[in-house]
Subunit: 415 residues, 2 copies
Amino acid sequence: MLLEMGQKAKRAARILARLSTAQKNAVLHLMADALLADQSAILTANALDVEAGKANGLSASLIDRLLLNESRLAGIADGLRQVATLPDPVGERFDESTQPNGLKIRKQRVPLGVLGVIYEARPNVTVDVAGLALKSGNAVILRGGSETLHSNRALVRSLQRALTQGGISNNVIQFIDSPDRSQVLELLQLKDYVDMIIPRGGAGLHEFCRENSRIPVITGGIGICHLFVDETADLSAALEIIHNAKTQRPSVCNALDTVLVHRAVAADFLPRVVEHLAPAGVTFRAEPVAAGLLNHAAVFPAGEKDFDTEWLSLVLGLKVVDGLDEAMEHIAAHSTAHSDGILTRSDEHAQRFVAEVDSAAVYVNASTRFTDGSELGLGAEVAISTQRLHARGPMALRELTTYKWVIIGENHVRK
Amino acid sequence: MLLEMGQKAKRAARILARLSTAQKNAVLHLMADALLADQSAILTANALDVEAGKANGLSASLIDRLLLNESRLAGIADGLRQVATLPDPVGERFDESTQPNGLKIRKQRVPLGVLGVIYEARPNVTVDVAGLALKSGNAVILRGGSETLHSNRALVRSLQRALTQGGISNNVIQFIDSPDRSQVLELLQLKDYVDMIIPRGGAGLHEFCRENSRIPVITGGIGICHLFVDETADLSAALEIIHNAKTQRPSVCNALDTVLVHRAVAADFLPRVVEHLAPAGVTFRAEPVAAGLLNHAAVFPAGEKDFDTEWLSLVLGLKVVDGLDEAMEHIAAHSTAHSDGILTRSDEHAQRFVAEVDSAAVYVNASTRFTDGSELGLGAEVAISTQRLHARGPMALRELTTYKWVIIGENHVRK
């Protein structure tokens, strides 16, 4: 069955690749309209998932993640209309040149083809990903979490109706309508039909996909993020940046995990960090030197694995370092190469940090929370890559394309 | 042992990534100098490989591929000096913007890290790849064919001496000095230390790497290439282009495999193709309609798999099609998405072909033989990718890099 889905997706993708931007945008609006028209069916289906989730003892925060209501659904539909306003990368020409022999050469963006997206609790991902795939000319095979099966089924039915209405094959958006995990394994084997696998979820899901996929996997979304407070940092500003990076939304991958503080300012600065963040509910894991400078109920000694832990919660690691070099060594050893920054007033230190720290996003004097497609000007986001090939950091429409070389001759032959 | 090589390479890569262009260029010249200085040791080692190859019954053409002599070695050394003249992609800034909130954003090219390159008979690959890796700031672990073990050992010894002389860790260029295939398997598992695997060789090697690698593999180098002769084609020019694409170097991946001819011109054109190419030693595999138009000793009926075969020799498939649509259908079904072209005087047909044929290189009125890094202006080539992610078509220095986002704030926090 998965094989058949793959074949259908591949065929649909060939046609989708040729649609104009206007045709794709029209369908995005039809999709938004359909979600609103089907609101009652979608919310009814979602209620089944919420009920089952409660019966299965899901945490309140997980229940909240899978919950849809009128305003959330309206927001999701609006997201599709936003995608319609974004520039279409397909057909973009770049690297144009004329060779000395007169051969005209350019590159031209084309869709990747078929995306396989495997995700967890949030039903909005179903719609967000479908919209971005459509706009970038890619067919998609979706596999959501079993906790949102009813919601996803209703959402996809609605989206597919819009595709048909727009005169597009509904094989452009397909959905693995089964909680059976073996289906994921099958999807990961479809190398002749699926061009890219995008896992969205925890470290376990990413690892499972990497281990089992015969298709290229976009690894990402795991961030052990650092800020280094240099001796020249504006310490008041640094406090606010650390507060923002840690507490503004602690459950996400670009939230701060570890603060490294220059020895020269540690005795002054570290107690201020604790005083400023503890009232927000933050607890601290301090290595011995840092711990020696602190005396607060929220401060605990750092365990062996603490600096290799993505907290995703109100926990913050604290460490004193001798300077820039030790900070960068710590980052090289413990970062997941997601988002790491320096807080400094030294241009020289900022430049060295930017040159030598090799993370997807490297910051100077800003919160790590900006590693996000919308914040960085992409208008959307399908994933945050922490791998090195193809795309790094936030990925949106352009990152869902590849290119072809177009070579125009006047009966050129090679000498 | 492989694990240790990976760890050393990773450490060396971090330092290499920070070298200036001038430093890297100086080392490239030292490498070229070293090869010339070590000429006698290298040619002596190569003679052992040639001798063993003859004793093992290697074909004359394989022996020729592995043979080094003074002038070939000088050419290889000169290649390193050429690489020194190419622009350095590392540090290139692109996609610069300032967000409405004042955040300054850019992307900046950085090396991929560590490359694993697995290749077959040609010893020049050892040097070519080492040079391109160095210039792009990547460490490399090389694994050449067992037929060239002595040659490669001597070449790498020479290159490593140059690295030391240039003050660079010789872990930047490492060599798996063993014919044992299990070492290749081990290399393919080093996901924490190696960032990209580049196989260079036949379809079997590519398949082996894809099947067994836990590291992203650049698939490519397999070309079933097509030219479609439209009814409006300049037939005399088409004859020369087909002759060039088939015979100029038949053993390579961008050589022509199949000619598709529009029905309206087939009766006139196909016999001319056969007359023009048969004297060059070309034999033909014609599907029934094409065969019916031909009467020549060099023409054979096409077998079932012939249109799915990369000939790599003086064999050419011939097929009559009803027009552009059937030609594109045939290409979609049989091409390896390497290099495919149209010969036409119709702008409309050229545009449709370029828009709808989704190969790494799409041609209008030119020989497929131009799919090559040097011919397309890259100045070099490390591989020709026929996969869709990361890079497509000829890959050179820039394609051996990735990027990081650099985000410069003035104490920005996320709202």
